[in-house]
């Protein structure tokens, strides 16, 4: 089971592999999602709203890893398609809550289901225990990154 050749476990090598794998799967994801007429970020925002309920802009930004400016234009995009709506927050008038419209809810529910099926297939090579180990290692790797 042990390779005779010395294995490269340098940080930069691990990072490179991680990056490539992520990019490769991202391509699959983009293709999958674009069939619903959405971009990756827009999908991520809608998915967040679907599963976590209405959220203020800055919280969305933190979760999806986008800057406030990017979220603003993304929400503009989604609002123009009538998939989300902005509400002024009752408690804090600086803050605006983004929520799904009924049409948006239908759209993301459908897109999510399709996307989940696609990603299931994309990771079909990996066993259940392999996936579980992978998740654990990725979480360990990401701990404490500022």
């Amino acid at each position: 089971m042990t390779k005779s050749r010395v294995e490269d476990t340098s940080g930069i090598h691990v990072w490179l592999i991680l990056w490539k794998a992520s990019k490769a799967i991202e391509q699959i994801a983009i293709r999958s999602i674009s069939r619903s007429g959405l971009g990756l970020s827009d999908f991520a925002i809608l998915e967040l709203l679907l599963h976590k309920g209405p959220q203020p802009v800055n919280v969305i930004g933190k979760r999806i890893l986008l800057t406030s400016g990017s979220i603003t234009t993304a929400v503009d995009r989604l609002a123009a398609k009538k998939l989300v709506r902005r509400e002024n927050a009752a408690a804090d008038r600086r803050s605006r809550i983004v929520e799904l419209t009924p049409a948006g809810r239908r759209a993301i529910a459908r897109a999510f289901e399709q996307h989940a099926a696609d990603m299931e297939q994309a990771l079909a090579h990996l066993s259940r225990t392999g996936r579980s180990k992978l998740v654990r290692l990725l979480k360990a790797a990401a701990i404490g990154l500022s």
Copy 2:
């Protein structure tokens, strides 16, 4: 060691974790690399040239996962900084070989060393065997992605 709660090993969940970890480390990498005055793609191109020798444009694109147009502008950028040079290929006059200038070689060698140290630190939480497992799983996950 086994969680009592049922673990989510759906493809979409694994993909989401992978994406987040990758993004988080990417942020570190971007910060690290930008200290050398380079962007991520430019760094990747220079690194490829450093370690694999001069390459035609389309080969660079395949390795770094960029389109031909992106490579063109990236090479323009790097050529403007005198870090790389384009040569017409002897064998195939459609093709142009990109190679490092001496200044480019110095710049990327230095940047690479710094970046390697930064990434080493970024992944410091992960043991040697953890890294090795992670790499194996990532490669397994990426197998057979179109």
